[in-house]
Amino acid sequence: MAASLQSANPTLSRTLASPNKSPSFATFRSPFLRFNSTSVASNFKPLVSREASSSFVTRSAAEPQERKTFHGLCYVVGDNIDTDQIIPAEFLTLVPSNPEEYEKLGSYALVGLPASYKERFVQPGEMKTKYSIIIGGENFGCGSSREHAPVCLGAAGAKAVVAQSYARIFFRNSVATGEVYPLDSEVRVCDECKTGDVATVELREGDSILINHTTGKEYKLKPIGDAGPVIDAGGIFAYARKAGMIPSAAA
């Protein structure tokens, strides 16, 4: 993949891999490493089945058979949950790349949902959610390009979204940041799951599944598609480094 990208675009590495652009790559952290964040405040602590030691940058090459599992409570929403409901515009003054404001964004995750959602995603006064899996209908994340949307879900402690379909920019921002895993269900799971159900998402090559332990039902998830390599690499920066587009930390 790396080789083909380079050969297809021979000018890229020449113009971009300039040595004077590389000073601080040692500080690069794959956003996916945060899956093992210690700050999850919940009885149903979402689990990642593998250890933090292996970085996603090398994962797909070194451990192709690796399994990944998210376990926890579901939070169920409907169709066309737009970014204003995920994070209302008044909170966009928070800058996600600033760690304190990142945490704060999490406390406002899904606060824009109408009052008809009796059970709130993040309890008032809390910083984190007790729900690690969000289940939605069609067109999840439509609307604005604000990256604050996937960021606030990830910051609140959500690990994965399982929806019937996504709006393009939300999906892309989820992949690029590695904040939440955006997964497509084959059927309309939002009608069959309830907020508070206990569920597991198992990511497996070819046949990822969602298991609802409360109802005992199991659902097939669609393959992640073209975004797979970017997710596997650990986001767009790690992917580009792997492909030789930009200098790697080791270079």
Binding site: N9, K21, P23, S145
Partner: protein, 508 residues
């Protein structure tokens, strides 16, 4: 670093112009049918539609037709051919960011490329504070300060700053709403790739370019590299023919289309607009059309450039550009045809832009206020239209009517340009006579709610007819508020009746 960035930027320029020559044959098999246009002072060459005859295959290149979006992406990725589904690295011509996403994008840029890193090209980054400007919110003010710091440090050429919040006119550089400012300042050019950290960046597709919204992380990547990984979208074609009735506006057309295909009908796809109606539209109306493709989930919207486009662009930039057009044998995933002469004014009812209804079907809906503004409905012609209707009606508004010009230029037009048929009155005079609120300082305003002290923000669960783009719950502030999206004509008519109204009541 400075040297290398200068070199890389200049090689880019040379490369793009020479590669057009070098690759002209192999890269663009139909280049003979594309009228090459260079914006060199008044040397307007005719813009031809794609012709049917083709030069024989002397180069061995594949003779697959491409849509304009595919051609723009092929050129920007230095490939001879791209097809929908290809994942390609694309050279970016312009990256736009604003006060809401700029601090995060630059934060990621620094985190990933280092504290001392320089952006890929300080002349290709456009920074436009516009979202949360006239507010006492400290964090919002701080974000503009952060952008000023970055722009100074990175020597960003196009930073449209504001420091005096008390009087926007004291800030000669300040523009206002980014998508309108981009066009007015000559940053929108046919054939180019424009990315912005705002979903309505697709507005610029009106100029025949590829324009789409991205997140902070992607923008941070572009800041450092000038490139982005994109998947080539399939193109849906919308052919709009027929004479546009005098009471319709581009807003009616796009609400009609979104109602037809739904808020996810164009997800991942390009929406290409053509037909005789499109040809008759002004640039601002074309911008309205492309502005809302994201409300159908579209990746980008695009309109073939013509004399209207070139006239607008040439008056605003000296940067060379080269329009492209869809081939006659290009593949489209869908074709929609509309006879515009038969359409009626429409609105999008709460709480979705595809919740379409005829304006006249909603005449029993009592409203509390009207809002005219935003990148969608806050341009000069939008205010001219509202003023024209107010003048024709000669009546006063029944509900508070808020006016937020998109940019400083629009604001000046509102106060300076005579409204046709009004005996020389300006929009501002007509608005005052009709009892509207005084036009406010240009910015994104209450279109997206914003900080609690934002002018005209929907702080109560009221019903608002708005010329903006989204009516999701809470969009303009209050979660239980109800927003009816409408054209400036329909908004003005509704202001006069206090109900959702069909503008034909006043225009015929």
């Amino acid at each position: 670093m400075a040297a290398s960035s200068v070199i890389s930027s200049s090689t880019f320029l040379c490369k793009s112009s020479s590669s057009k020559k070098d690759l002209g044959i192999s890269s663009f098999p139909k280049s003979s049918q594309i009228s090459i246009h260079r914006c060199q002072r008044k040397s307007i060459v005719s813009v031809m539609a794609p012709q049917k005859d083709r030069s024989p295959g002397t180069t061995g290149s594949v003779k697959t037709g491409m849509t304009m979006t595919e051609k723009i992406l092929a050129r920007a990725s230095e490939k001879s051919l791209v097809v929908p589904g290809d994942n390609i690295w694309v050279n970016v011509d312009v990256l736009m960011t604003h006060d809401v996403c700029g601090p995060g994008a630059f934060g990621i840029f620094k985190r990933e490329f280092g504290d001392k890193a320089k952006v890929w090209d300080p002349e290709k980054i456009v920074v436009i504070p516009d979202h949360y400007i006239f507010t006492a919110d400290k964090r919002a003010n701080r974000n503009v300060d952060i952008m000023r710091e970055h722009c100074r440090e990175q020597n960003i050429k196009y930073f449209y700053d504001i420091t005096d919040l008390g009087n926007f006119k004291a800030n000669p550089d300040y523009k206002g709403v980014c998508h309108v400012a981009l066009a007015q300042e000559g940053h929108c050019r046919p054939g180019e790739v424009l990315l912005g950290t705002d979903s309505h960046t697709c507005t610029a597709g009106a100029f025949g370019q590829f324009a789409t919204g991205i997140g902070n992380t992607d923008a941070g990547f572009v800041l450092g590299t000038g490139k982005i990984l994109l998947k080539v979208p399939p193109t849906m074609r919308f052919i709009l023919d027929g004479e546009m009735p005098s009471y319709l506006q581009a807003k009616d057309l796009i609400l009609q289309i979104i109602g037809e295909i739904s808020v996810a009908g164009a997800t991942y796809k390009t929406m290409e607009f053509s037909g005789t109606t499109i040809e008759s539209l002004s640039m601002e109306e074309r911008m309205t059309l492309c502005n809302m493709v994201v409300e159908a989930g579209g990746k980008n919207g695009v309109i073939p450039p013509d004399a209207t486009t070139l006239n607008y662009v040439e008056n605003r930039t000296s940067v060379p550009f080269e329009p492209v057009y869809s081939d006659g044998n290009a593949s489209f995933v869908a074709d929609y045809r509309f006879d515009v002469s038969k359409l009626e004014p429409v609105v999008a009812k709460p709480h979705s832009p595809d919740n379409r209804a005829l304006a006249r079907e909603c005449k029993d809906v009592k409203i509390d206020r009207v809002y005219i503004g935003s990148c969608t409905g806050g341009k000069t012609e939008d205010f001219m239209a509202a003023a024209k209707l107010f003048h024709a009606a000669g009546r006063k508004v029944k509900v508070p009517t808020f006016l937020v010009p998109a940019t400083q230029k629009v604001w000046m037009d509102v106060y300076a340009l005579p409204v046709p048929g009004s005996g020389g009155k300006t929009c501002a005079q007509i608005f005052e006579e009709a009892g509207c609120d005084t036009p406010a300082s240009p910015s994104c305003g209450a279109c997206l709610g914003g900080p609690a002290d934002t002018y005209a923000r929907l702080n109560e669960p009221q019903v608002c007819v708005s010329t903006t783009n989204r009516n999701f719950p809470g969009r303009m502030g209050h979660k239980e508020g109800q927003i009816y999206l409408a054209s400036p004509y329909t908004a003005a008519a509704s202001a006069l009746t206090g109900h959702v109204a069909d503008p034909r009541e006043f225009l015929q």
